[in-house]
């Protein structure tokens, strides 16, 4: 069975997670080997996932930790009576 591009897009996430069944993976891989558009879709998605997982994207605000632990201290003291 030959997959069309729109079918391959449905497997991008599973491909990146390594969760595709062996026969599906083989068909997707065969398509990717010959389709530059689907390869670019896959590569760009993988690249975006690497970038968004980087800790620099969502940085804690300056002083977040200090303010949190000061507030926790108040609560802990209250609990201790």
């Amino acid at each position: 069975m030959i997959l069309e591009c729109k079918h391959v897009w449905e497997y991008v996430s599973g491909y990146l997670d390594g969760s595709l069944p062996a026969d599906t993976l083989r068909m997707v891989q065969e398509h990717l080997d010959h389709c530059e558009i689907c390869s670019a879709v896959l590569d760009s998605t993988r690249n975006i996932l690497i970038l968004t997982a980087d800790e620099r994207v969502f940085e804690l605000p300056l002083g977040f930790s200090d303010r949190l632990h000061a507030r926790l201290d108040e609560e802990l003291m209250k609990a201790a009576g």
Binding site: S13, A40, V41, D43, L51, A53, V57, R67, R71, L72
Partner: protein
């Protein structure tokens, strides 16, 4: 450590929660969409975790339990303040439809060093923030906080199959919105080094 805290060594709670500060904040931010409200939600989640620590049964991981508290706190606030006027947090969009990716002829990898630039960070943060909530929360749990599919399913009280469907759509939506902008940004940079 939890037993010791419940036994009276409450100052150990600081150490218990320190590894989860960023995760809780990012989760809160994905709901509240502004730093001040997110910090407020995060602080409240940690306080509630302390107050309710004796109800933690240890069946789930402590981090999973903490994130559940954060989700409940954030959802409660959204309901109360109706921050998301056009977006219902119970809105289920798991119907049968396909998200089409942005079609490009090639892709030159953008290295992580580019994240030193605030412009790039802002672009990514905005694109994630613009995802509909059900896709945003699964994306944050799975691809930003790197939880397993099973953990994410448990935390959101949805099936593993739903996690996979939502995650796939979230990723495709991000590819569709981000890939052309990132590509443009990269070529602009090349022209004006």
């Amino acid at each position: 450590m939890i037993a010791a805290i419940l036994g009276g060594e409450s100052s150990l709670f600081h150490d218990l929660v320190r590894p989860y500060e960023r995760t809780v904040y990012v989760m809160a931010l994905s709901f509240m969409r502004n730093g001040a409200d997110a910090e407020d939600v995060a602080q409240e989640a940690f306080l509630q975790a302390f107050r309710k620590l004796d109800t933690f049964r240890g069946e789930a991981k402590f981090g999973t339990w903490l994130i559940s508290i954060t989700l409940n706190e954030a959802r409660g606030r959204i309901r109360r303040s109706k921050i998301l006027k056009t977006e219902s947090i119970d809105d289920s969009q798991d119907g049968d439809y396909t998200v089409s990716p942005a079609l490009l002829r090639d892709w030159k990898e953008i290295p992580s060093e580019c994240l030193e630039r605030k412009e790039m960070q802002h672009l990514l943060e905005t694109a994630i923030g613009d995802l509909p909530l059900i896709y945003r929360e699964i994306f944050i749990l799975r691809d930003v906080e790197e939880m397993s599919v099973a953990e994410a399913a448990e935390m959101l009280a949805i099936s593993v199959a739903s996690v996979k469907v939502r995650l796939h759509r979230a990723r495709m939506m991000l590819q569709s919105s981000l890939a052309p902008k990132l590509k443009q940004m990269k070529s602009k940079r090349r022209r004006f080094p």
